[in-house]
Amino acid sequence: MTEFLQQTVSGLTTGLVYAALALAIALVFQGTGTLNFAQGEFATLAAFVSFALSSAGLSWWLIVPVLVVLSFVFGAGVERLLVRPVEGSGPLALLTVTAALLLGTNAVTALIWGTDVRSMPSPFGDSVYRLGPLTFTAQALGGGALVVLAMLLCGLVFRFTPLGLRLRAVADNPDSAKLLGISTGVMLAVGWGIAAAVGAIAGLVAAPTLGLSPELMTNPLLLALAAATLGGFSSRLGAVVGGLLIGVLSNLASRYVPGIGGDLQLVVPFAVIFLVLLIRPQGLFGRASTVRA
């Protein structure tokens, strides 16, 4: 029983990373109407940047806000310069742009930092805590808290601020938004920026555990896509819930289902994507009418 609980908790911890990445993917989907396949690579790049800043001696208390700002600018810039030109050209063009961004960002990361896996020290230290029969590392607790905080802030901005209202309006009905004087272009760029910032936190939290390399997010991206599919791309809450579910599911499957271990764990997200798309394409929380294609 303890083992089961431990695995579940461990699944929740990794699930938080998937949840944050899935939230980023959902945000871009709701605004621009495409799936950003490069979201994982953006997060990897952010993780490397944080590593570089940390190696340069910056305190983690400074690195996190700097990273958020840099990622925001990066995401907004990518939207403005590289995505905007094809925004009216149909789903294939948009998807291909994100594929290009995936290839390009991955290449840039590998060129700057090389392909070796580095171990990145945890910003939260190496302590281990016990709560009853369960064990938690500082990284898991601290990382988890950071991700939860990032997602909460994001949710608060969207739900309760005028900016968030405008972002949601543009996602809901861009033509009407324009008629109300909202600059849809600016809002889309902001959306990409927020998504990149949330993804950056995910990358930052994942790196110490998974090892820092350009391949850091190759698998988590798939899990995040499955999470967003399960939760529903049109729901921010769905992305988060989906991430947690996928995290727990993958962990339990790799532990208890014979044959699915290590890398093959990825059969789980694949199966989830396949089944959800066949049975209920809008996911658990999504709205059927907004399956944009």
């Binding site: 030109p85 290839l103 991955n106 060129l111 059969v267 798309l277």
Partner: protein, 358 residues
């Protein structure tokens, strides 16, 4: 000539650019031997037949790879350019063809033509299965599904070690596609000529497929699936068929590619390979068959060119960066791809000279 002449005396603009530049109707009416494009292809075919005797076996080997990739990209062009579907996973289908052929030769001792056929069949069936969810989901979701397939394929290969040799893959001592006795050709020459023939047959078949009733139904499907349905097109069957054909063609390329190389390794068929194929399709031009060849040449030769300039350690990554940049530039400035852009340039030049002549 029945070109529509407006009151100003200039030919009316064509509704859609076509390779011969005369407008869609006229392109169909002109006999094959009159069209400049046919002459270009014939010349290319002749070059292909003669080439093996002028370049080294090593260069031929590389060129053969271009041809196998071109076959696969042609399949992708059918799916994306003609049917309007999305696949970010054709690398997996190419790999499936390769591994199937390899296993049939290595484990079951089949001759290479039958093994290749097996590869085609397996890939075709896999494509049909992928087409099933494509009936329910479109666009983005399909891209999602296919990229998931692309990502998981190498993992499945690594996992089933007994069948696939795991991460090491499967190798043969030499390529089973060997030149028959008495022809006086080296294996590489024979392989290249074979591939020239196969690619030609594939392109001709695909071209005929897409200019006939099947092609018109595909076009209707691509432009407006709902309207196609109301016009009597069996959308479901058409979609499944086009997925099957496209995947079978990719498998054909993969099977031949794997056997020519005499080695199949999971890393060769990664998600990045699938995305690279997608780049070849888009950069070459997804609606022209020449685009398949151009795109394939681009992705096969570029890494070598770059490695020569920069060195082989980071060559792969720089190549990837160039693919990404080329993809973006093509999407922004040349949406019909290099082949499409060239086609339009040629038709504009030809139109100008014709007007001057008339």
């Amino acid at each position: 000539m029945a070109t529509a002449i407006s009151a100003a005396g200039r030919p009316a603009p064509a509704a859609q650019p076509s390779p011969s530049g005369n407008g869609p109707v006229l392109a169909e009416l002109r006999p094959l031997w009159r069209r400049p494009v046919s002459w270009a292809w014939t010349a290319l075919f002749a070059v292909g037949l003669v080439l093996p005797f002028f370049i080294s076996d090593f260069d031929l080997f590389k060129a053969s790879r271009v041809l196998t990739v071109a076959i696969a990209v042609a399949g992708l062009n059918l799916l994306i350019g003609r049917a309007g579907q999305i696949s970010a996973g054709h690398g997996a289908l190419y790999g499936l063809g390769a591994y199937t052929a390899m296993i049939f030769v290595r484990e079951l001792g089949w001759s290479w033509p039958l093994a290749v056929l097996a590869g085609v069949v397996f890939s075709g069936v896999a494509g049909w299965l992928i087409g099933l969810p494509a009936l329910r989901v479109t666009g983005l979701n399909l891209g999602l599904l296919t990229i998931a397939i692309a990502a998981i394929f190498p993992l499945l290969l690594s996992r089933f070690v007994d069948l696939t040799g795991g991460t090491v893959g499967l190798q043969l001592p030499g390529s089973p596609i060997s030149a028959p006795e008495g022809l006086g050709l080296t294996d590489e020459q024979f392989q290249f000529l074979l591939l020239v023939l196969v690619l030609t047959v594939v392109l001709v078949l695909l071209r005929n497929l897409t200019t006939g009733p099947f092609g018109r139904a595909l076009e209707a499907l691509r432009v407006n699936p709902l309207m196609a349905r109301s016009e009597g097109v069996d959308v479901n069957r058409l979609t499944l068929t086009v997925f099957a054909i496209s995947s079978a063609v990719a498998g054909l390329g993969g099977a031949l590619g794997g056997l020519v190389l005499a080695s199949t390794v999971p890393d060769s068929y990664s998600m990045f390979f699938s995305l690279t194929l997608l780049s070849a399709c888009v950069v070459g031009g997804s609606r022209t068959w020449a685009g398949a060849l151009i795109g394939a040449a681009f992705i096969v030769y570029l890494p070598d060119v770059i490695s020569q300039q920069i060195g082989s350690t980071t060559g792969g990554q720089w190549s990837q960066l160039v693919y990404a940049a080329a993809l973006l530039l093509t999407l922004f400035f040349l949406p019909t791809g290099v082949a499409g852009g060239l086609g339009r340039l040629v038709s504009r030049l030809a139109g100008r000279s014709r007007r001057r002549g008339a």
